[in-house]
């Protein structure tokens, strides 16, 4: 019998993931691994992990990586890429990391057009610290620090990072995808591939924003969370290529 599917080599064999059931961090991690493998880039991969559940990957991935202070992944990646332009440098960050505490680092790296790739996980909430409000939390969405639901008057509006970065001249590629159904998972994979290829081609800053779920802190089971993405998240965060130059 021909084997048509196998665990990606980039995930350590002896490890069992500690992500919650239904969490898409594992899905995206697998996609990155498959893309690295298919593009023959594993030997060049230098990943910069953000702080948050995304950082849990440290224990499972098999390629080179470092953990940045909370929010600073784009700055760490800037130094890493400049010091060693041969590596494929990519960050993997949550919304608290990329869009809140790290906003200056994220925007500045994008503005400089650093030749790095950002994988930005937008799950609308701070996962690891127990479900506090993120810059991406939807209006009306409850979190532990917006128990009555996010109120625009008090907390402002959800931040759209692809659109914000699209105001800058330098970024090469900005796309928003999701992992809420198989078709979107495949589109996410394609987007990651393109973002890595851009770096190989020296095109500069590329970001893939991936709308995902945090069933645990959303207080839903995994399937409900998929519906929530479809019904609530995607109208606020429309999918598609926002910039490709």
């Amino acid at each position: 019998m021909k084997q048509i599917y196998a665990r990606t080599k980039t995930i350590q064999e002896d490890k069992v993931s500690g992500f919650c059931p239904g969490c898409m961090h594992g899905t995206v991690m697998k996609l990155i691994g498959e893309v690295l493998d298919e593009m023959n880039l594993v030997d060049k991969a230098a990943c910069v992990l953000g702080i948050g559940c995304c950082g849990l990957q440290m224990d499972y991935m098999a390629y080179d990586n470092t953990t940045a202070p909370h929010g600073r992944a784009c700055a760490v990646a800037t130094g890493m890429k400049k010091a060693n332009p041969e590596s494929l440098v990519f960050t993997y960050q949550g919304d608290g990391d990329f869009a809140s505490i790290g906003l200056a680092e994220s925007m500045s790296a994008a503005n400089r057009g650093e030749n790095i790739t950002v994988i930005f996980i937008n799950n609308g909430i701070y996962g690891m610290t127990g479900g506090q409000m993120a810059p991406t939390t939807l209006i009306g969405m409850k979190s532990s620090t917006s128990p009555q639901g996010r109120d625009a008057k008090e907390h402002g509006y959800p931040m759209h990072m692809c659109e914000i970065l699209n105001q800058l001249t330098a970024p090469a590629y900005l796309e928003r995808t999701s992992c809420n159904n198989p078709a979107n998972v495949m589109k996410t994979k394609k987007a990651i591939k393109k973002a890595f290829q851009n770096q190989i081609d020296g095109k500069g800053f590329s970001m893939v924003e991936i709308v995902t779920s945090c069933p645990t802190n959303w207080g839903m089971d995994a399937l409900k969370a998929l519906d929530y993405i479809e019904e609530k998240m995607l109208p606020e965060f429309p999918l598609g290529v926002i910039r490709d130059q």
């Binding site: 594993v42 600073r72 200056a104 680092e105």
Partner: protein, 359 residues
């Protein structure tokens, strides 16, 4: 070896380039702007990179990234900026990433003043960031010393896989002096250092590579964290032998001045003046402020010494706590202090010595 007339900040930058530093990131703050400005001009000439970060926080983290990739890397700032850099410095210490940084310190606390001061002593020697890590801290008293220390700092950083701090105040950073510059490391030498010492670098390795690079500035498991801290602690203990001091005319001294950096240089000229007048003054100058050179205080004849005079540009005094610990109550410890950007005056030091002897 070339002999040139150079400003402290620029000389520090040139020494770093000669030591093989090929990445610098920083953010403007007086009185250290000449360091990033110098690197901005110089790095392209040697095939290195300079980045003006969007903040101190970003720039120290760029250095964390570049040093993680195995390249000799440096940042610099002045007091309030160093406070911001404490995040990245702590991360480097935890992840065992070698890097060098300079604090061309100014008055404090807060935004303080832009004039030279020695108000960051505790921060530099006791708590440069969260988590109780330690570093070698060098305190130059001349531009030449700043050059020599910076040049060597990269070797220490690589040896220990730990940050190294050059703690110089605004006087050292902004004054011009003739200096002998060290040899320029060749590209081959720089490559060799990377090859030999940095197999751990995060640059992308094949999956079966033995030294798989996981740069972790922390540990999930408490046992791992304790082990890492025990290992770091053994490293810190091994630094005892690195403690350096200059002992100047202390053998027969009745008053021994204790100082570091520019204050020590001013105190030295006070000692020379007092000696001309037949007054037996001496000086212990801390060259490393961490580890503290306590050994020098063992060489004093406490039968003769009336008091140790702590001279520093900080109010309240900070360096004095280490001096007191080294003196161990064997004689009184007095202070001669100034702050807020006032530079220590030789006459104030002389006056303090006279007062002690008049008691």
């Amino acid at each position: 070896m070339s002999r040139v007339f150079m400003k402290g900040c620029e000389a520090i930058a040139e020494a770093a380039v000669r030591a093989g530093c090929r990445f610098f990131a920083g953010y403007p703050i007086t009185p250290q702007n000449e360091i990033p400005e110098y690197f901005a001009r110089r790095m392209p000439e040697v095939g290195g990179s300079f980045v003006q970060g969007e903040s101190e926080v970003a720039s120290v983290n760029m250095v964390y990234g570049a040093a993680s990739a195995g390249v000799r890397s440096m940042t610099s700032s002045s007091s309030p900026g160093i406070a911001l850099k404490s995040e990245g410095i702590s991360y480097c210490a935890s992840a065992r990433i070698p890097m060098v940084y300079a604090n061309i310190s100014r008055g404090g606390p807060g935004v303080g003043s832009i004039q030279p001061a020695q108000m960051d002593y505790y921060q530099a020697t006791k708590a440069s960031g969260n988590g109780g890590f330690q570093m070698l801290v060098f305190a130059p008293a001349s531009v030449q010393e700043a050059v020599d220390m910076t040049y060597k700092a990269f070797d220490y950083a690589d040896r220990d896989r730990n940050p190294v701090l050059i703690l110089a105040d605004g006087v050292i950073g902004t004054m011009m002096e003739p200096v002998t510059l060290p040899e320029m490391k060749t590209d081959e030498e720089i490559a060799e250092i990377k090859e030999a010492k940095k197999a751990w670098a995060c640059i992308g390795h094949p999956l079966d590579y033995a030294n798989r690079s996981w740069i972790e500035p922390g540990h999930w498991k408490t046992a791992d964290m304790q082990r890492a801290n025990e290992e770091a602690s053994r490293l810190y203990e091994s630094w005892g032998k690195e403690a350096q001091a200059e002992e100047y005319r202390t053998e027969d001294a009745e008053v021994v001045i204790a100082a570091y950096g520019i204050s020590a240089r001013i105190a030295k000229s006070a000692v020379n003046q007092l000696r001309k007048e037949g007054i037996k003054a001496g000086l212990i100058r801390a060259i490393t402020v961490h580890p503290f050179p306590s050994h020098a205080f063992e060489h004093i004849d406490y039968g003769k010494v009336k008091a140790v005079l702590d001279v520093e540009m900080s109010i309240p005094a900070q360096f004095v706590t280490d001096v007191e610990a080294a003196v161990k109550n064997r004689c009184p410890v007095e202070t001669c202090l100034c702050s807020g950007g006032n530079i220590m005056s030789r006459d104030a030091v002389i006056e303090s010595v006279r007062k002690i002897l008049a008691k």
